[in-house]
């Protein structure tokens, strides 16, 4: 399931109802990403006061659904959930939640990591940081590309 929303989410509530009543599930992996107060630029000691996430309504949901379908193709998953926020967020705010459920833990861990790695390089979101040095758009990071790239093997033919 995919949700793109401006409002906050409660990881406890999401976890409690995630895969509820499905007794084939042996393990759930749940990842929550937060807004850090350090600027994205390596070596910078600037502090972030806030960040604004812009997205492409329609295409964002479509890309997230595609990424979710790819995870389900690769691993035996009983349930998946991606919740991604947009709008203005402050340090400490929750920004993204990824949850995976599988009969065995290995698939849940791997699929969860795959989902967060792939969404960072494929889902149309853009971040603008408000730092002590001014506001600026965050550039895509090579380390994120590399993290996504290692999952490339086994990608579905397009």
């Amino acid at each position: 399931m995919i949700r793109v929303q401006s409002e906050d989410f409660d990881p406890g509530v999401e976890l409690a109802r995630f895969g509820a009543d499905n007794h084939a599930i042996g393990g759930i992996c749940l990842f929550v990403g937060l807004v850090r107060d350090g600027a994205a630029e390596a070596g910078s000691d600037e502090r972030i006061g806030a960040m604004t996430l812009e997205h492409y309504p329609g295409m964002t949901e479509r890309e997230l659904e595609r990424i979710e379908a790819e995870a389900r193709r690769r691993w035996p998953l009983e349930a998946t959930l991606i919740v991604h926020r947009h709008g203005r967020l402050l340090p400490g705010d929750r920004i993204v939640l990824v949850a995976t459920a599988s009969p065995h833990r290995k698939a849940a861990f791997e699929a969860c990591e795959f989902l967060i790695d792939w969404l960072k390089t494929k889902a149309p979101f853009w971040k603008k940081e408000e730092t002590t040095a001014g506001a600026r758009w965050v550039e895509a990071r090579q380390s994120d590309e590399a993290a996504a790239e290692r999952w490339r093997k086994g990608q579905a033919a397009e």
Binding site: G33, K120, T121, P124, W126, K127
Partner: protein
Amino acid sequence: MKIVYFAWLKEKAGRGEVQVSPPADVSDVAALIAWLKLQDAGHASAFADMSAVRVAVNQEYVKLDHPVAAGDEIAFFPPVTGGRC
């Protein structure tokens, strides 16, 4: 056709969305960009460095040789930076 911009491309283009009717020989993304660059300084600046621009036609990622036609929605945006962690 409808053009939409996101992130700093929106700021440089000076708008988030615009309806355009380019001449008939504008048949692919590359030709559309070349035509848009002639329209005003904002567009010329937005498309100055194409290595920093990604394109979607009707909400699908495409390359510069992808065809465009009346009724299409063409989006221009920088490489994505979702997640955070």
